[in-house]
Symmetry: C2
Subunit: 213 residues, 2 copies
């Protein structure tokens, strides 16, 4: 099994957490995003989208973090990353999608580069953009988990799952850009609980072999 | 069953197609996005994210189009919208995610408004932005379906599924902004096949009761 990733990629971070929770060993291939390795012909042969993560497993080459994690959950059911009931699964997938569809893609490196290179915005404008979309998404995420009795120690009950896997890397990103997390007490509480688990802590960007200052 | 949507929302369009494929009747609530109804307190009570679609079903209130469609597929398995094998499901979910994570959220109304109101960009710059992200995503989508024997009349085999449901509304958007579709012969061929089906055609924005010129 081979995971193509980058220490700073929060989508790769999600897959690292899932692999750790499932106790699956993997080889790591490091695709240096700032040097543009994801756009070269070699990696485009792995993933035509030129994005990490990609996972080679069972003779398949999978892309897109949430579909990869659903695959891992189907093939390696323990511990489950989705609830047993359809309504619970819809809730957890929706929470994950708030991050994976409506926060993270807006703040991806390729988008920040377009804002800078094509549209001429400076670091300050990029920082406001970055935190604006996190704040929008976190406000909804917080409202949904704070108001729902299905929330427990984690986003859904007392075991970590797909929603926590999406949330934790996004909070790490928010911390990097110094977003004020005070308006989001429930999700920061859940984040702290997540990061006490080895599966989450060992997946942190700062603990990856390709990390940089 | 009640679907909160807007004729022009391509995420709502996806759910309309899935409901039609499953032959499920629903009441429609129209949330006028350009008038800002999605941001008012009434709709925020339905979906704290302030985005359509939302679906009330089985006493639950679901948000996020792909999780809604997965719920419909689990509760109403015929016709299936995902393949029977884990690798096929991962492929179809990844194709859907290319649209739902990496194209559509970048071109959503709230993002175009931020680019215009906060960053001062004009219609021409917005149009370039819009088509840039579609072209990036379509190039990958095209490469993935053109090179894969699992592609059939539709994205995966000869029956429509989740990847087609994500693709078709995005092509309708691309046509609106006059993106040149010539570089994407496979996905435009699949799109034409989709739109010959009543389930897709009846879900088109121009056929919704709340459509506007």
């Amino acid at each position: 099994m081979k995971l193509y990733g980058f220490f700073r990629s929060s989508a790769a971070f999600r897959v690292r957490i899932a692999l750790n929770l499932k106790k699956l060993d993997y080889d790591a291939a490091f695709i240096h995003l700032r040097r543009g390795e994801q756009s070269g012909p070699e990696f485009r042969g792995v993933n035509p989208q030129g994005l990490v993560p990609a996972l080679e497993i069972d003779g398949e080459r999978l892309i897109q973090s949430l579909p990869i994690i659903e695959y891992l959950d189907e093939r390696h059911p323990e511990p489950p990353l989705l609830p047993p009931d359809a309504a619970g699964r819809a809730r957890v997938r929706a929470l994950a999608a708030i991050v994976a569809c409506d926060i993270h893609p807006l703040n991806n490196l390729r988008v920040l580069r377009y804002l800078h290179r094509e549209l001429g915005h400076d670091e300050a404008a990029l920082g406001r953009w970055y935190n604006h979309w996190i704040a929008e998404g976190f406000a909804a995420f917080e409202a949904l988990v704070a108001a729902d009795k299905r929330t427990g120690a984690f986003c859904h009950g007392d075991e970590p799952g797909l929603a926590d896997i999406a949330l934790a890397p996004q909070i790490v990103n928010a911390e990097r850009y110094a977003l004020d997390l005070a308006p989001y007490p429930t999700i920061t509480r859940i984040f702290k609980t997540c990061m006490q688990l080895d599966a989450f802590a060992a997946a942190h960007p700062e603990r990856q072999p390709d990390r940089e200052a």
